[in-house]
């Protein structure tokens, strides 16, 4: 994969991965406006700002801006993640300059009117209400509340807290926009039907005169650790299946142990076929339709969690088996085949991800966002290959201690109370 880089005078970094023979182009613009930069105790402001930005600009109202976007046939969305707010889109190659101009207009000159904020408030509160009876959303919310203190950016999901959404004012959204939506620290990644010169020219036209006047948000982030096992059951009425999370606070993407952690994750539970937990829980015992683990890639201690969908009768057993498999990893009971399978899979996936412009853009964005180095894509497979069994065992012991975990179950009442 060839990645070429440029930077605008205002600090905006550009990375381009041209892919021959494609008609479309994938675009991701990441701005340092994710949960990590959200004001303490105001969970949900970042997402409200992002959604309000999409509701018209000082030049045209929401309907006209939407018409302009749909006239390109582009698909686009603006999401708030743990680190960045990501404006991601796909368009036909020739439309890239027009798409970047529309993105710039929305980000830099949003109207942010009172009635736009009211609209977004209504939509967001409806989503939060929907999530209250969605077992996957409930288990995620409750797990975060158990593990991260109130002051931590990951205490709430990106949609935020209902109290914040109800009280957010247009002034607060405008202020957050001035402080957070800025070119310094922003990264534009383009993959697909594009050349670096054309992207640089279009980006310069769209974002070259972008200047910011506010102060970048800063907040104190407390360190998180689980002192003991915590378990919680949350009843969600009228459900058939329980959703389960067993998890721990993870590590920043920039931690030197992160690559070993990815291998550990794959050995343990990341994949139904290649990992131990999925193999035993689903394939051997038939306890769950899905079981997988994931670790966030962020500036902080993102959740490192195992998720399962389980009949209430089987919840206790599924949790026990998941922890048993983890215990085996921490005790070094992993075979050379387990380890090589995990590494082969992670390396092989890199080739397969090249099949889609969106997949390429996301890989490039991770490398740029966390300053993994211009030679990252050459080094990364070698780094994965170099991970040893000892590193896997040590990573699991340090970050995934089975005797100190947080487990949450959301769904129907359990036949027996979850044992501590």
């Amino acid at each position: 994969m060839r990645v070429e880089r440029r930077q605008l005078d205002n600090g905006l970094r550009i990375a381009v991965a041209p892919i021959a023979d494609l008609r479309s182009t994938a675009v991701v613009l990441a701005i340092e406006a994710g949960q990590w930069y959200e004001p303490a105790d105001r969970a949900g402001i970042a997402r409200m700002c992002a959604q309000t930005v999409l509701r018209g600009t000082t030049k045209r109202d929401a309907a006209k801006w939407a018409e302009a976007l749909d006239s390109l046939g582009a698909v686009a969305r603006l999401d708030v993640g743990s680190t960045a707010a990501a404006f991601s889109a796909q368009c036909l190659g020739d439309d890239l300059p027009a798409l970047l101009a529309l993105m710039s207009e929305a980000l830099r000159t949003p109207a942010l009117k009172e009635d736009d904020v009211e609209f977004v408030r209504g939509q967001t509160l409806a989503h939060i209400e929907r999530d209250e009876r969605d077992t996957r959303a409930v288990v995620d919310r409750v797990w975060r509340e158990l593990v991260y203190p109130k002051q931590h950016p990951f205490h709430a999901p990106p949609i935020g807290e209902a109290g914040v959404v109800r009280t957010a004012t247009a002034d607060e959204i405008r202020e957050y926009h001035i402080d957070a939506i800025r070119p310094s620290g922003a990264i534009l990644v383009v993959a697909g039907n594009a050349t670096t010169d054309r992207v640089a020219e279009a980006a310069s036209r769209a974002f070259g005169d972008w200047r910011s006047s506010g102060n970048p948000p800063l907040r104190e982030i407390p360190e998180v650790a689980l002192p003991a096992t915590i378990r919680r059951t949350e009843i969600v009425p009228d459900k058939t299946q329980s959703d389960v999370i067993i998890g721990w606070p993870g590590m920043p993407r920039t931690d030197p142990r992160f690559v070993a952690a990815r291998v550990t994750n794959m050995v343990y539970a990341a994949d139904t076929f290649a990992s131990r937990a999925g193999n035993v829980i689903r394939d051997q015992l038939g306890l769950a339709y899905y079981v997988f683990s994931g670790m966030g890639s962020s500036r902080g201690q993102s959740p490192w969690i195992v998720r399962m969908g389980v009949n209430p009768e089987n919840v206790q057993r599924a949790i026990e088996v998941a922890l048993d498999e983890l215990r085996k990893v921490t005790e070094g009971q992993i075979t050379d085949d387990d380890l090589s399978l995990a590494k082969d899979k992670l390396v092989g996936e890199l080739d397969v991800a090249l099949e889609s412009p969106g997949g390429v853009a996301n890989m490039v964005m991770e490398a740029e966002l966390f300053d993994l180095g211009e030679d990252h894509f050459e080094r990364y497979p070698q780094e994965l290959r170099a991970v040893t069994k000892e590193q896997v065992v040590q990573t699991a012991r340090t970050f995934l201690p089975p005797e100190r975990h947080a487990a949450v179950v959301a769904g129907p009442p359990l036949p027996v109370e979850l044992a501590a």
């Binding site: 023979d21 999401d79 009228d238 076929f273 306890l287 397969v352």
Partner: protein, 411 residues
């Protein structure tokens, strides 16, 4: 039947095997059998015991999975191109040699029940399943795909094996391969892998249970505490993929709801229903879909309402908008947007190798066109008048099925 296409932008190959068997091949008592069988195809053969090739494919970083719908059951592997032969070996082997042991059937039964229970947690699945059942009085499309929980629990191993033996054979399959190699070479390799397999002598005729004409609107209401937001769902009887109106119905879906980037997406907001319902603060989302199917199926229009919104109010607005698009041709600027969205969607769908193979298989297996390019040409040729005509033919009171999900308070 083997179809191969070249795609050289990434060093991968995507292999898809489409079997002509799905929910439409089932009868009461065996609902969910095709889907159950799909799970059993991952449980090994005499040559490759369970886990053998799975682990090999995982080792290659493959993306692979399977799905079942009303018409077909599909298996795919996207692999680094040097591993194409392994994907072929897996698919050719399990086409005729799956074990489907009693022991593995029992072990998988609970997994499938768990899959069904996960779906039941979602109010839109509950409403959609009931509405689909109401929309068909004779045709097996009304049974859906995953099957009833009781029938999954009772599904006999021998029945599964007979279903397998009958339908899993080269004379009942499409192979579609797209990848970074010469198309003829990709096709030759596939032909070599599958050519010696024994055909089924028991395929019989495709299921024939024509759905009689609907004579008036059908309505259902689902009251549950499992969701907090009201839903309005409409399902209109719609023609099969081979019908000349199918491309116009695909364009009609875009006219009504755009090509969305999902909930909260910025695109599709200029569409008619988004403006009429979501922008008015009545709903959080609106979705419209028309699927390519072998037999006449449904054109779906549904909305997730804000908590305080009345179902009837949204239903009336939806019907008004449907009436409008059925009676007046859309304007120049709107038509240009719809065409551009359709064109762009064809590029997005085919610029990913896996989805190019999927799209090709969907078009071929349903008979929508003889190639992916021909289908795209048909989409490009749709006129405003055809969109209006398709709407007028579809959005009639007598072909309408309406479902409401009404959230209830928890006990």
């Amino acid at each position: 039947m083997i179809h191969a296409l070249e795609a050289h932008h990434a060093p991968v190959v995507s292999l898809w095997v489409w079997y002509h068997v799905g929910g439409r091949n089932e009868v009461p008592g065996t609902t969910g059998m095709s889907h159950f069988l799909e799970h059993m195809l991952f449980k090994g053969t005499p040559t490759h015991p369970k886990g053998d090739l799975d682990r090999l494919l995982a080792r290659y970083g493959a993306m692979w999975n399977a799905f079942t719908n009303e018409d077909v059951t599909c298996y795919f592997e996207t692999v680094p191109k040097a591993r194409y032969h392994t994907a072929l070996e897996l698919e050719a082997d399990r086409m005729r040699n799956a074990l489907i042991s009693l022991e593995e059937t029992e072990a998988e039964r609970t997994v499938i029940v768990s899959e069904r229970e996960g779906l039941e947690n979602d109010p839109s699945f509950l409403l959609g399943e009931e509405l689909q059942a109401v929309a068909f009085s004779r045709h097996p499309y009304g049974q859906g795909v995953i099957g009833s929980k009781d029938e999954i629990k009772l599904m006999p191993r021998d029945g599964l094996y007979a279903h397998y033996h009958r339908f899993y054979a080269p004379n009942n399959a499409y192979v579609v391969v797209v990848g970074d190699d010469d198309a003829a070479h990709l096709a030759d390799m596939a032909a070599k892998a599958f050519e010696s397999l024994e055909p089924s002598r028991d395929l019989g005729q495709p299921p024939r249970a024509p759905e009689p004409p609907q004579r008036g609107e059908r309505r259902i209401v689902v009251h549950r505490a499992g969701g907090t937001l009201p839903l309005v769902m409409m399902a209109f009887r719609a023609p099969r993929a081979t019908d000349p109106r199918a491309p116009a119905l695909a364009a009609l879906a875009v006219t009504l709801a755009g090509t969305s980037a999902g909930s909260d997406g910025a695109s599709g907001r200029s569409s008619r229903l988004h403006r009429a319902i979501v922008e008015k603060g009545l709903a959080t989302d609106v979705d419209v879909s028309f699927r390519l199917t072998k037999d006449p199926h449904l054109f779906w229009v549904d909305a997730t309402l804000r908590p305080e919104t009345a179902h009837l109010e949204v239903e009336r607005i939806m019907l008004r908008e449907l009436e409008k698009v059925a009676t007046e041709e859309i304007g120049d600027a709107e038509f240009a947007r719809v065409k551009r969205q359709l064109l762009a969607a064809t590029a997005f769908g085919t610029d990913t190798i896996t989805w190019r193979a999927y799209r090709c298989g969907e078009i071929l297996s349903t008979g929508a066109a003889t190639s992916i390019a021909e289908w795209y040409d048909k989409l490009a040729a749709v006129t405003r008048e055809q969109i209006r005509e398709a709407a007028a033919a579809t959005f009639t009171e007598s072909s309408r099925n309406v479902g409401w999900f009404i959230p209830e308070a928890a006990d």
